[in-house]
């Protein structure tokens, strides 16, 4: 087996930077505890997914070129606390650069070094039990791009199962989309709202007090829905539940 990396570049994502900065801190806390140094490239912005998904490939490409160039400056693995942004950089950039041989090659090089947070912990560092403990009944929400884009199904569950006193609730239709989908939630707000309604009904029926996911986009959507309904269920990025369980 290859030597385990001692240092990562954190691509914190725009949503963590602007809305949920504490998630970035908990990600770094966990990594440092595992002996991995965290570097934050300060010129990072967004992966470009909003424009890409809306069909504006020229505009998305500008952002993608910037991101590729920035993250290739160092040879360290890139850690992304989001299944969706990680899928964007490691898979969708190939579509953006299908007519640009230079950047296509670069994007392939980059994609081999990108890891979503739970994927990095379990697959790269070989961690399953951090020794964390927390009293919570958790509904795990597998975000779509994490699950079906990156194929990360078991890693987050493994990490959650390793947390003492934590109970994983059984959620009906667990792998169904929460209805976020970026611009979809705005342009097709009716359908998105219907999907959110189904998801929250199933989570509420599970008896969970916390929703845990690896994507703050979905969690922002779910949290907004919970807030509107006056629910006291919390949402947490998986790194937050691990960090809290360690403190």
């Amino acid at each position: 087996m290859k030597e385990k990396p001692r240092k990562v570049q954190l691509f914190h994502t725009c949503i963590v930077n602007e809305v949920y900065p504490e998630v970035g801190i908990s990600v770094a806390t966990i990594l440092e505890r595992l002996g991995v140094e965290v570097e934050v490239p300060t010129s990072q912005t967004c992966c470009g997914q909003p424009a890409f998904n809306a069909g504006f490939h020229d505009d998305a490409r500008k952002v993608a070129r910037h991101t590729v160039d920035l993250l290739l400056k160092s040879g360290d693995p890139v850690l992304i606390p989001s299944g969706s942004c990680c899928d964007m950089i490691s898979h969708q950039y190939h579509m953006l650069f299908e007519n640009d041989a230079e950047y296509l090659k670069k994007s392939h090089e980059l994609s081999e070094r990108c890891y979503e947070f739970s994927q990095f912990l379990v697959d790269v560092l070989g961690i399953t039990d951090l020794g964390a403990r927390i009293n919570a009944k958790v509904a795990y929400h597998p975000s779509c791009h994490l699950l079906r884009g990156l194929g990360v199904r078991t890693q987050p569950k493994t990490l959650l199962e390793g947390v003492g006193h934590l109970e994983c609730a059984t959620v009906k239709d667990q792998e169904e989309c929460c209805g976020f989908g970026g611009m979809f939630s705005v342009k097709n707000s009716g359908i998105s709202g219907g999907m959110l309604e189904n998801k929250l009904k199933n989570i509420q029926a599970s008896g969970a007090n916390t929703i845990v996911s690896c994507d703050m986009g979905c969690l922002m959507h779910l949290e907004g829905g919970l807030k509107r309904r006056g629910s006291d269920i919390n949402v947490k990025h998986i790194s937050q539940i691990l960090a809290e369980g360690l403190s």
Partner: protein, 464 residues
């Protein structure tokens, strides 16, 4: 016709529809999982089936010529229809030439596409749908809302009401009684029909064969009892040989309804021959283009490999919420969101590819592994390139590209954007957003951006 988003709103207001759709699609999706789990080498068969379809499409023109030759060798008349109108005209001409008056039809999405029933009735023919679901659709004068289960949106109470009103029988919602009522009507029609119309699930190139699958036996009756049989098929429905057909039926019924195989599988290689006990005197195949050739050369050519199992509809959370009619054309669900703009152009259908969260559930369940999200993304890109995006979104995205590719500008915009957003918030939450954002706050609140970004917190942490 109402705008897509209006149709969606109508569908979403219909709690009855949503409940019926959720229950039925959940049930079908779990049946599918069980059925495929019991198929040995399912993944390999799916790969092989995909490969066979994709290889066939690479030389569709050549394959169609061979298919035509082999159909003719089997004594089948072959007709080519550029569009739906031409297909309907051909069927009517066949009927008139053979002096047919009463047609029975088995389930066919191709003829839904061409609106054949209305054309036949206008031409003075009687036509009766004989698939139970399609029969109810015809009675109710509506359209199918699912490609496999045409009346998935109806409850048995709905069906009982339609049957009661349209054929004047006492109301019942007992499925067995309703089936018996339909059966009596259909039997009568089968025995008196002189024209049988079917679709075609697979056309086998090297044997010149038409394959049909059904669960009610009606397709077999339609293709054997009447004097004349006409099959209308999309030009993409070919498989090289019976070996590939075997792979296809192994995955088709499992993906569609969770059955190992449909109750009836008809493999038809021509009209009645000397010594045959049944079969039509005359058999025709109408090969329908209707926009397929336009798809073939483009970015979404892959969609022509679809075997119409409907698994993507059952898995799709959007379809589950809005049902089939909101899609506004013959093919609903993820497949419809690609096929409809593909066949009919983006002009009137650009909303369909947008109406997806790109969750990828469709790609996971597709038996021939069509990358549906990729095609949706391609269609969105096409829409933008054709200048069909609203100006507000266009400028927003242009701004996004300019700002987000420049870190200093991004930081500045985020800082000021955050300040403005926090002004709209009370105790950290925004309950109503203006403009496009109003879509969000329609059914959820929005957390206001944090006062300090992660990068600011990170800097402070480093200093400490």
């Amino acid at each position: 016709m109402a705008h897509f988003l209006d149709r969606v709103e109508t569908a979403l207001r219909d709690e009855h529809l949503r409940d019926a759709m959720l229950a039925a699609t959940r049930d079908l999706a779990s049946r599918r999982v069980n059925a495929l789990a019991n198929l040995e080498n399912a993944d390999m068969i799916r790969d092989l089936a995909r490969q066979a379809k994709m290889t066939m499409l690479r030389d569709l023109a050549g394959n169609l010529e061979t298919f035509e030759r082999n159909l003719k060798r089997n004594g089948i008349h072959v007709h080519w229809a550029r569009d739906g109108k031409e297909a309907n005209r051909i069927v009517i001409e066949i009927a008139k030439a053979a002096k047919c008056k009463r047609a029975v039809k088995s389930k066919s999405m191709a003829t839904e596409e061409t609106h054949l029933n209305h054309a036949l009735i206008d031409a003075g023919l009687d036509v009766l749908e004989t698939d139970l679901g399609e029969y109810i659709v015809q009675l109710a004068d509506t359209t199918p809302s699912h490609i496999i289960l045409p009346i998935i949106h109806m409850t048995r109470g709905d069906i009982g009401q339609i049957v009661h009103e349209k054929i004047s029988v006492p109301y019942t919602d007992d499925p067995e009684k309703l089936t018996k009522i339909a059966r009596a009507k259909l039997r009568e029609a089968f025995l008196s029909a002189d024209l049988g119309i079917s679709g075609c699930n697979f056309g086998v190139i090297d044997t010149g064969t038409i394959c049909l699958v059904s669960n009610e036996g009606n397709a077999r009756l339609c293709t054997t009892l009447p004097r004349v049989h006409v099959a209308v098929m999309g030009i993409e429905k070919l498989v090289p040989s019976l070996a590939e057909f075997d792979w296809m039926i192994k995955i088709l019924a499992r993906s569609a309804t969770g059955q190992k195989i449909t109750t009836y599988t008809s493999v038809i290689s021509g009209p009645r021959r000397a010594g045959d006990h049944d079969g039509p005197e005359e058999m025709h195949v109408v090969l329908l283009d209707n926009g397929r050739v336009n798809i073939l050369g483009g970015e979404i050519a892959e969609i022509l490999g679809c075997i119409r199992c409907g698994a993507c509809l059952n898995a799709c959370p959007v379809y589950r919420n809005i049902g089939g009619h909101a899609y506004g054309d013959t093919y609903p669900g993820p497949i419809g969101a690609i096929v409809t703009p593909g066949l009919r152009g983006m002009k009137d259908w650009k909303e369909l590819p947008d109406a997806s969260s790109l969750c990828g559930a469709c790609r996971d369940v597709c038996p021939v592994r069509l990358d549906i999200p990729r095609m949706l993304l391609k269609l969105r890109q096409t829409g933008v390139e054709e200048g069909r995006a609203p100006a507000s979104i266009k400028w927003m995205m242009k701004g996004f590209g300019i700002v987000v590719s420049r870190p200093w500008l991004y930081r500045l915009s985020a800082r000021w954007g955050g300040r403005v957003a926090r002004l709209l918030a009370s105790r950290g939450w925004i309950h109503k957003l203006p403009g496009l954002g109003g879509g969000w706050t329609r059914s959820r609140d929005m957390r206001a951006p944090a006062a300090k970004s992660f990068q600011q917190l990170w800097k402070e942490r480093k200093r400490a």
